[in-house]
Symmetry: C2
Subunit: 312 residues, 2 copies
């Protein structure tokens, strides 16, 4: 029997994803019909979803075997009480690769002081500021999930001493792991570059508030490709203004697009990037969706199932 | 008997190197006296040298067992006919690491389009230009010596498809190797980012001239941390002006410091950096010098001996 997969992620994504999903279903030999517009809820076996998609009330989808999110972050739907079906995050290999490239690129940009070269092409040969080598530049990776571990490994491969922090204790090869509030203080006091790659949960919201930003060493750099609310905007601006934070490169914000009047745009030591660090690529993401549909139909365990208690 | 090592690399470097050399000699238990100012030539067992150092005529140093260069490049002394003693290049592990960091940082900078974010903090949320992932961005590494191989490996670890080119055929794991003029055309036609890390020899001088720059794909990026004369300045400026080369990041020049009136400084698509990509670090370089002195005194083969015929 043909299974119906409802593409409830909006028209824009439909145009990008439809050919890739059809191809991925074909590659796995799946008998799945892709439905773009509100099919009979009782007939839906799978929901392919993105925040801003078409479903607010999941109650009528009584035969839905899984909700397959196209984004890594699920904070905008995990609290939806009508969503009782199994929910899977997207772990797109291309997304992980893109994130590793973005994080490594911006860590090296700050490590090497590349901005000063881009901005000072004035004919003056300045040899005063040769950076230390990476092995003398401690980096903190806040968050040791799929993305944090991949980025930490890439930075460690470049010889950066990487300290990792996660809410609950973890053990990751090549990374000096810490957890808990004491662990966070230890890590923030020692790092010169801090990368925030935590999921957004009630526990991580405003994790970097005025008190914890106060633990940073003078002149630390913050790079946030995780979620906007991990950092308190006002506290970060204050830390920038007193020079404790030398620069912040931010890819995610409480409100996106970041409003033009937000002080981050005009701050001379903030770089705003438009939520591009973790871009899901339709080709590879479609293969992940197809694989989870195959698993569900074969009664095999789903990949990347969200733990509702933890919220990710 | 105490061996005399003449530090003929100038007063500035003396102050940086003296404590590190003394420590490195001590670590290896060497009985070596470091002489900063023109000792009796016949008493000199080793010469520690840097371009711009104090010796032009090596003839009087008849008992000198080796000339130990503090720089990786030897083109400014290899042609000195009075220099008949064994000559060693510097292969500083920190220098290699620093070069890998600089090259990887600038490749990622261009790959991710970081400049446009640094320069356009204008409140406009531009999501149009998401870069491809690294595995879809071919990179050319011209030069497969110590530094080229290390940089190529770091880029390949980030999934960039790396094509390598060297004058004489080489085989490097993880890099698609080419050689000869035909190989160079193959590589330049396919690469989107080209890194030049060749030694400067009569054969590599002006390697990238107007004809060979004409092989580049439209919008290619050039990154030169090798030697200035590898690229013909005028031909590069012409390729930039017609858009065939989108950007050039140059760390080395025919004349250094690059004169303020040189057109590279003012060109909107050139980034000049002041010969910082390969910075020898006194601590690690001193250990290499000490190790070669130990080897010479023990009649073991010297590390990084220059091949006079090839010029490096």
């Amino acid at each position: 029997m043909t299974a119906t997969a409802y593409f409830a992620a909006g028209q824009d994504l439909w145009e990008k994803y439809q050919p890739h999903l059809e191809r991925a279903f074909g590659e796995l030999g799946l008998d799945v019909t892709l439905a773009p517009h509100a099919p009979d809820p009782a007939a839906v076996a799978f929901i392919i979803f993105a925040p801003g998609g078409e479903i607010e009330d999941f109650t009528p989808y009584t035969n839905c075997r899984a909700v397959l999110n196209l984004w890594a972050g699920v904070e905008r739907i995990v609290g939806n009480r009508t969503l009782t079906q199994p929910l899977c995050r997207m772990v797109d290999p291309a997304l992980t690769e893109g994130m590793v490239e973005w994080v490594t690129g911006h860590v090296l940009r700050h490590h090497l002081g590349i901005d000063s070269h881009i901005l000072n092409q004035d004919g003056i040969w300045r040899r005063d500021a040769v950076p230390p080598i990476a092995r003398d530049r401690p980096v903190a990776m806040l968050g040791l999930g799929e993305l944090g571990r991949a980025c930490g490994a890439a930075l460690a491969a470049l010889n950066f001493p990487v300290m990792g922090w996660s809410r609950t204790a973890r053990d990751v090869v090549g990374i000096e792991c810490h957890s808990g509030d004491e662990g966070l203080e230890h890590v923030l006091r020692r790092a010169e570059i801090v990368v925030t790659l935590l999921p957004l949960t009630p526990e991580t919201e405003n994790l970097l508030d005025a008190r914890r930003l106060g633990w940073l060493s003078q002149g630390a750099v913050i790079i946030n490709p995780g979620r906007g609310p991990l950092i308190e905007d006002e506290a970060l601006l204050a830390a920038l203004d007193r020079g404790q934070v030398k620069h912040a490169t931010l890819d995610v914000f409480r409100t996106e697009p970041l409003p033009p009047e937000h002080p981050f745009w005009a701050h001379p030591r903030v770089t705003v990037t438009p939520h591009i660090a973790a871009e899901t690529r339709p080709a590879s993401a479609s293969r992940v969706v197809a694989e989870n549909i195959r698993r569900s139909l074969a009664n095999e365990p789903l990949l990347y199932l969200v733990d509702r208690a933890r919220g990710y």
